[in-house]
């Protein structure tokens, strides 16, 4: 089974409710999702309960168009989604200094059911997927290399 990934830019703030807390962040269920840049390549996922807690996400197909992980059918049940066909896949980014060393968690995408606004972080049963894959391949354009 393949999963559709959405390419629409969320133009306004959306509220996501996590049906399971993000691992390591118990008790935080409500988050707001907003675009950071005009194209919506970067998204801000901010906790409603702890406003200081923010994750930066990217729609999975923005940087990884071939990423189509297999999701267990139980995921759509947990999200209250009719099927897995319409779920969105978002990846959590680790940003240390800039785009060049930014990494994405491919092993544990955030799966969102747009019709219910419910979300969960799903651990894929695929050890080939990295928890910190670079957004930009090692061979980067000159203008992206750091001059430090």
């Amino acid at each position: 089974m393949t999963t559709m990934v959405i390419d629409k830019v969320p133009s306004q703030e959306r509220t996501l409710r996590f049906v399971e807390p993000l691992p390591g962040f118990d008790g935080l269920a409500e988050f707001t999702l907003t675009a950071i840049d005009d194209r919506g390549l970067l998204l801000s996922l901010r906790s409603v309960q702890e406003r200081g807690l923010r994750f930066v996400l990217t729609p999975a197909d923005s940087f990884f168009p071939d990423y189509q992980p297999e999701l267990a059918p139980v995921v759509s049940d947990a999200l209250g989604a009719a099927s897995l066909a319409d779920v969105e896949l978002l990846l959590i980014l680790t940003i240390s200094s800039g785009l060049v060393d930014a990494t994405a968690n491919m092993r544990a995408p955030i799966v969102v059911a747009p019709e219910t606004g419910q979300a969960m972080q799903v651990v894929l049963d695929d050890e080939a997927q990295s928890m910190n894959r670079r957004l930009i391949p090692d061979r980067v354009p000159d203008e992206l290399t750091s001059d430090e």
């Binding site: 691992p23 390591g24 840049d37 970067l42 930066v56 959590i92 800039g98």
Partner: protein, 87 residues
């Protein structure tokens, strides 16, 4: 900790609705099946711990780093380069 011996095909029941089955034993590897309500997440321990760390590392990047990332993306756009283009 409760320690008990089970054979292949035998189960352990935890509470009302969690069933742990021994599927196969081969050398030092044991295949285990876990049936649990979907409200309970079941994970390999090392993956779960790694994920907690990965999430903690990703949480709340500095404004400076985020600004730099947005600027990098804009620069790419300005240079007519698709940052998503992969070799």
């Amino acid at each position: 900790m409760l320690i008990l011996t089970r054979r292949v095909g035998e189960n352990v029941i935890v509470g009302d609705d969690i069933v742990i089955s021994v599927i196969e034993v081969r050398g030092d590897a044991v295949r285990i099946g876990v049936q649990a309500p979907r409200t309970l997440s079941v994970h390999r321990e090392e993956v779960w711990l790694e994920l907690q760390k990965a999430n903690a590392r990703a949480a709340s990047p500095s404004e400076e780093a985020l600004d730099a990332t947005v600027t990098d993306l804009l620069n790419n756009e300005r240079n007519n380069e698709d940052p998503r283009k992969r070799s």
